[in-house]
């Protein structure tokens, strides 16, 4: 979904009115993609229903600047991690390999990698929250 949404956004970039809100325009496109995806995947067992997806999308749009701040804070927090920790995140989040494959490459159990990822996320979340609080953004 992430990749497909990005591609659609690129393709429709010419339709964007530069005087308008890029965020709201793009969110609309993303929401349509999600809706289409959910329709296709309707038979899947676990997915949020459209009511909740709409609610989350609406509130996400209202938090545009906060999301931007979080991303910027994340960039800084990442730089505080060790190179090894950054490498693990990069492997897991590059989107090219499954967690199982990354765990195999790192020579560790998949569950152990999940645990380490969870702790790294916790660290990053705490760091982001601290930064935003210091900036008065949160």
């Amino acid at each position: 979904m992430f990749q497909k949404t990005s591609i659609v956004l690129w393709k429709k970039m010419s339709e964007f009115d530069r005087d308008g809100s890029f965020f709201h325009w793009a969110c609309g496109i993303a929401f349509n993609e999600v809706r289409n995806f959910l329709t296709v995947q309707r038979r899947s067992r676990l997915q949020f229903d459209l009511e909740l997806v709409e609610l989350l999308a609406q509130e996400a749009a209202e938090e545009e600047s906060l999301s931007e701040s979080r991303l910027e804070a994340l960039r800084r927090c990442l730089s505080q991690l060790s190179k090894r920790q950054q490498a693990i995140l990069q492997q897991c989040y590059s989107g090219t390999e499954s967690i199982t494959a990354v765990a195999k490459q790192l020579g560790r159990e998949r569950t152990a990698l999940y645990k380490q990822l969870a702790r790294l996320r916790e660290k990053l979340l705490a760091c982001i929250q601290l930064r935003l609080a210091q900036e008065g953004t949160s």
Binding site: F2, F37, Y93, T96, E109, T111
Partner: protein, 528 residues
């Protein structure tokens, strides 16, 4: 619903291990709780942000072993940045779906496990994470999160003794007092003081133990951790663990393999000091603590805590050569192990414990680690908790606990077995090598009874006696002068190789805390 639960559900969602019920609960909460949605969006922003930053230049990423430093993940031009940003926003709403549909999603083992029923006494907002399965000589200083044998997130302090926590996620943690442990989630805890032994079983998805200066990630393992004022020691008995200091930016990771031990100074957790393996004595299994309680003299013990399932067959107790086996004609499943009713019985805390539930016709045998050989004169004691579950007074519904002699001759073994138990009429009896003595006492169905059997081997013969304690009775600290059943002396065997428990077809009985030892106080001594 606490934030801990919410975080766990989001984690499960991201890992693809969320159950259908939890997914529904999460969705319902998100629909009605704005604060929860805030937390959710924060997490999704993080996930999306990580994907955005690390996926931005994925096409030209080199091998995974040489990652591009974050400092080099430069902000792209305006349009790329905007796309990244909007992809982030899009991800907020699609991430949950994407993750639950991703191809490498593993079937969640934990998610499919049935949840334990929440006892009424515990607030519905508290998440029950497991059970206190055994304890020995425990003095608790703080045990608020322990209720009715179950535990919820919170800190517990054990002043002395040993206790075993069994997480529903499949990890067993033995606390060795004095010890202070903060239980955080269903698969993580923080050791604040003292020492613990951790057994991450084969059904677990892993366990994370935090210390003041690091996190210990298991890789399918048995390990022990001990804190003192200066340092932390880690001993790995099986598998391996990864030690990672928690200090931000520390680029140190230490894998400790099986059979090795490390010491890390509190002020310098990034440097490992090899120490002799096994130098410290950890309580690895609660049975060892029970053995210690018996002064080390217990010959055999079974609390029936681990009998359920194929995986643990034969693992419960100590002093046995192997596991329980069917002594009947069939080779079907063994008797059930079920939860014991809460409460204290004859000084034994039953909350959170398990017991052996014998159905009509069940017959189990277990061989001793070494045949129990008696000299003349000497005495052997057997104690066991018993509760009849169904009406008796019909033929073939007795409970027999049989000490089987060591002999290659089946005929001899059968004729010279020493048996005690409860007859079909509900009366205690002793059968000493074919000579039967019975008491007039009628035991009450449904009530717990403590049966203590004494077998005295004398110069020319042997005699068996049985003492029955009923609910409310006080167990004497010394052997009683009066016995419920005093058997007739007869030439009895001097060596026993196994113990058999046979339930007649017409009734059912609960059996627990089986102890065999050379003296009274060893088999009836306090376990708490």
């Amino acid at each position: 619903m606490s934030d801990e639960i919410l975080q766990q559900q989001i984690n499960d969602l991201l890992n693809g291990t969320i159950s259908e019920a939890e997914h529904r609960t999460l969705q319902d909460r998100l629909k009605t709780d704005a604060a929860a949605r805030h937390v959710f969006r924060e997490r999704m922003d993080l996930e999306a942000g990580l994907r955005t930053l690390f996926a931005a230049d994925v096409s030209d990423q080199p091998a995974v072993t040489s990652p591009k430093p974050v400092s080099e993940l430069r902000r792209p031009d305006w349009w790329r940045w905007r796309v990244a940003l909007i992809a982030t926003a899009a991800s907020i709403v699609v991430f949950a779906v994407w993750w639950t549909q991703r191809p490498d999603r593993a079937r969640p083992e934990l998610a499919e496990q049935p949840r334990q029923t929440t006892p009424q006494e515990i607030q519905p907002t508290e998440r029950l994470l497991g059970r206190l399965v055994q304890q020995a000589d425990c003095v608790w200083q703080q045990a608020a999160s322990l209720q009715e044998g179950r535990f919820a997130p919170g800190t517990i302090k054990l002043t002395s003794g040993a206790a075993e926590l069994r997480f529903d996620s499949g990890t067993n943690v033995v606390l060795n007092g004095p010890c202070e442990l903060a239980i955080e989630t269903g698969d993580s805890a923080r050791l604040l003081a003292g020492s613990v032994f951790v057994d991450v079983t084969e059904v677990s998805n892993g366990f994370l133990l935090a210390t003041p200066e690091a996190q210990i990630i298991d890789e399918g393992t048995h390990y022990a951790v001990a804190l003192d004022s200066q340092a932390t020691e880690v001993h790995v008995f099986d598998g391996s663990v990864i030690w990672t200091p928690t200090e931000f930016g520390t680029d140190f990771e230490d894998r400790i393999p099986s059979g090795e031990a490390r010491r890390y100074l509190r002020g310098d957790p990034g440097r490992a000091h090899r120490i002799p393996f096994g130098k410290r004595q950890f309580v690895r299994r609660i049975e060892e603590a029970v053995r210690a309680t018996g002064g080390g003299d217990l010959l055999a013990y079974d609390g029936f805590e681990n009998l359920a399932g194929q995986l643990r067959r034969g693992r419960s107790g100590f002093g046995w050569a192997g596991g329980w086996e069917s002594a009947g004609r069939g080779r079907g499943s063994l008797a059930e192990v079920i939860d014991a009713p809460p409460g204290v019985v004859f000084g034994i805390e039953r909350s959170g414990r398990r017991l052996l539930a014998l159905r009509g016709g069940d017959s189990l045998r277990r061989e001793f680690e070494k045949p129990i050989a008696l000299t003349s004169p000497s005495t052997l004691f057997v104690s066991v908790l018993v509760s009849q579950q169904s009406s008796v007074d019909e033929a073939g519904s007795s409970l027999q606990i049989v000490l089987e002699p060591a002999s290659d001759s089946v005929r001899y073994a059968r004729r010279h077995s020493v048996t005690f138990g409860i007859s079909s009429e509900g009366r205690p009896f002793v059968n000493n090598a074919g000579t039967i003595d019975e008491s007039a006492l009628l035991l009450t169905v449904g009530e717990p009874h403590l049966l203590v059997f004494r077998y005295e081997a004398r110069a020319r013969d042997a005699v068996g006696s049985l003492r029955i304690y009923q609910s409310g009775d006080t167990v004497e600290p010394l052997p009683p002068t009066a016995w419920t059943v005093h058997g007739t002396a007869s030439p009895g065997p001097m060596e026993f190789k196994s113990l058999r428990i046979t339930q007649g077809t017409g009734s059912a009985t609960h059996v627990d805390e089986l102890r065999i030892g050379p003296s009274w106080n060893v088999v009836v001594g306090p376990t708490e």
